[in-house]
């Protein structure tokens, strides 16, 4: 558009999408510079939820750190617990009994389902359709009931231990899990019919914030965001840990279903499809789980050997990598947690240039970030 010499001067507006905002998935502050409705610059400002988890890790023992990992991503608490347990076990070379590994996988996949349900629900709520959010919460209540059965808690579970899990599944747990899976699987199709392919919803999401595959890798995107850009990389299949090699499931990849590969719609559909794959894994796990002990013998005063290790696991929001340095004492020497949401924020400023304010909300929701993971 050529500017006319006698046009009225316009000014860019700086708006603060403040830490308190219904759509920023936590206390995220985005400083928008807009020209009317179009955003020219969106700078994220984080740190409102910084709790110095890494510094705390240097003062507590390995076993005492488990409840802190709950708060790392409270919607995928089991995944973070197990990530910490696996990281320490890799550093110290501890052998975990097979039943414990199966239980860990079962709770991790259940938590993946409930985390993706919240991602789905809050995303559609951000887009203006309030109803699917409540349906997602309804299904999540059933998962919470299952978790309450197995560890007594509904949100921050503190379930894994170094060397296994804290308690065996009570009688009836596996049957109830199977009931939940039978109830839940047709619901995914119901939600797809209700909202996923709704014309308005697709128009809001398709071709918005396209992230090409090479950029996704370079900017450090992981998890569903990376797979939404067409890169078929899933840690559970490509760098398998625990008992994942025993399960048969697909890697869900975005394919430009309704727009371009790597747009918001692809990332959203990857999460929906991942719920289906999690149901598949759960069915196999519940069928195959062996009997046995659930906790290995780990000394009470636990001192891993001197060394450094890096372990990463597939959490619902990306890969959670734990870089552990041990100097032979009861406390970790250095503990660095690399979370999917934190590194995903790298691409935020680049991808939001030229979008509208309404699209900023769509982008934040499609990357499914959560602030405790970003701020630690």
């Amino acid at each position: 558009m050529t500017a006319r010499p006698d046009a009225l001067p316009t000014q860019e507006m700086t708006i603060n999408m403040g830490p308190q905002h219904p759509s920023t998935h936590g206390v995220l502050r985005v400083i928008l510079t807009t020209d009317g409705e179009v955003v020219t610059r969106a700078v994220p400002d984080i740190g409102y939820l910084h709790r110095a988890l890494e510094k705390i890790g240097e003062r507590v023992t390995y076993a005492q750190y488990m409840p802190f990992t709950d708060r790392l991503d409270y919607l995928a608490s089991m995944n973070c617990n197990c990530a910490w347990a696996w990281a320490v076990e890799k550093l110290a070379g501890i052998e975990v009994p097979e039943r414990a590994e199966y239980l860990r996988v079962i709770v991790c996949e259940l938590n993946r389902i409930s985390s993706h349900l919240i991602a789905f629900g809050s995303y559609t709520a951000d887009m203006g359709a309030f109803t699917p959010f409540l349906y997602a919460i309804r299904e999540r209540e059933r998962v919470n009931d299952l978790f309450e059965m197995i560890c007594g808690s509904r949100l921050t579970y503190n379930y894994a231990r170094i060397g296994g899990v804290s308690g065996d599944a009570p009688p009836g747990f596996l049957e109830k899990t199977k009931e939940f899976l039978d109830y839940f699987e047709p619901k995914i199709d119901e939600y797809n019919n209700l909202i996923s392919y709704n014309k308005i919803f697709v128009h809001r999401l398709a071709n918005v914030a396209v992230v090409p595959a090479s950029e996704a890798v370079a900017y450090g995107l992981t998890g569903p965001s990376l797979r939404g850009s067409g890169v078929p990389f899933d840690l559970r299949k490509d760098e398998p840990y625990s008992v994942y090699p025993k399960f048969d499931f697909k890697v869900c990849v975005g394919a430009g279903e309704r727009g371009t590969t790597g747009d918001c719609f692809d990332r959203y559909m990857v999460r929906i499809n991942e719920m289906r794959e999690s149901v598949k894994i759960l069915r196999q796990a519940v069928a195959q789980i062996p009997d046995g002990p659930v906790l290995a013998k780990v000394p009470r005063v636990f001192k891993p050997p001197v060394g450094e290790s890096y372990f990463r696991s597939e959490c619902p929001r990306g890969e959670t990598g734990i870089y552990l340095i041990s100097d032979g004492s009861v406390n970790p020497f250095r503990l660095k947690i690399r979370t999917g949401s934190f590194v995903t924020m790298n691409i935020f400023e680049k991808i939001t240039r030229g979008l509208m304010i309404a699209d900023i909300v769509a982008v934040i929701g499609s990357f499914d970030i959560i602030l405790p993971e970003i701020d630690r």
Partner: protein, 156 residues
């Protein structure tokens, strides 16, 4: 590719820039490099077709009581191998060139290392405090960090 092979390749190309290979007790193995060479080595690791480390998994600052270090964990999606890079830095004025033009994923993580350790990344496109408020004094993750008593008049 094995860690030893990668180390030999780097040593052959950069000579004194590559210091040693830390293998026993380190998973993945670390190639310790001179801080000044980090950008050239990073670019080589990313662009060489047999190495193709296109994914920076993790960038962390470390405080080994006598000195600082920056640890890079790299991964190649094509060849499915991983390696670590480490650059040792002195405790006074720790600084080294940035790698955020090689892997843009490094930007936020370098800012975090700067924020919590005080390691300066030269040439970074944006080096500000990220997790702590802009006017915070000190670098908390250092082993000799003293907790402040007051912040803006509020008892901490």
């Amino acid at each position: 590719m094995e860690a030893q092979a990668i180390f030999d390749m780097l040593k052959g190309k950069f000579g004194d820039g590559v210091v040693e290979l830390q293998r026993e007790g380190f998973s993945p193995a670390f190639v310790v490099v001179a801080p000044a060479e980090i950008k050239a080595i990073a670019r080589f690791l990313r662009d060489d077709p047999s190495l193709a480390f296109d994914s920076l998994m993790c960038l962390s600052g470390v405080d080994y009581k006598e000195r600082f270090a920056v640890a890079y964990h790299l991964f190649s999606l094509e060849h499915r191998h991983a390696i670590g890079l480490k650059a040792m830095l002195p405790r006074e004025n720790p600084s080294l060139p940035t790698v955020d033009d090689v892997w843009p994923a490094a930007n936020f993580q370098e800012r975090e290392a700067f924020d919590l350790y005080g390691i300066v990344f030269e040439g970074s496109k944006d080096l500000r405090r990220i997790l702590l408020p802009e006017d915070w004094e000190g670098h908390p993750l250092r082993k000799d960090y003293k907790y402040p008593d007051f912040y803006h008049g509020i008892k901490v």
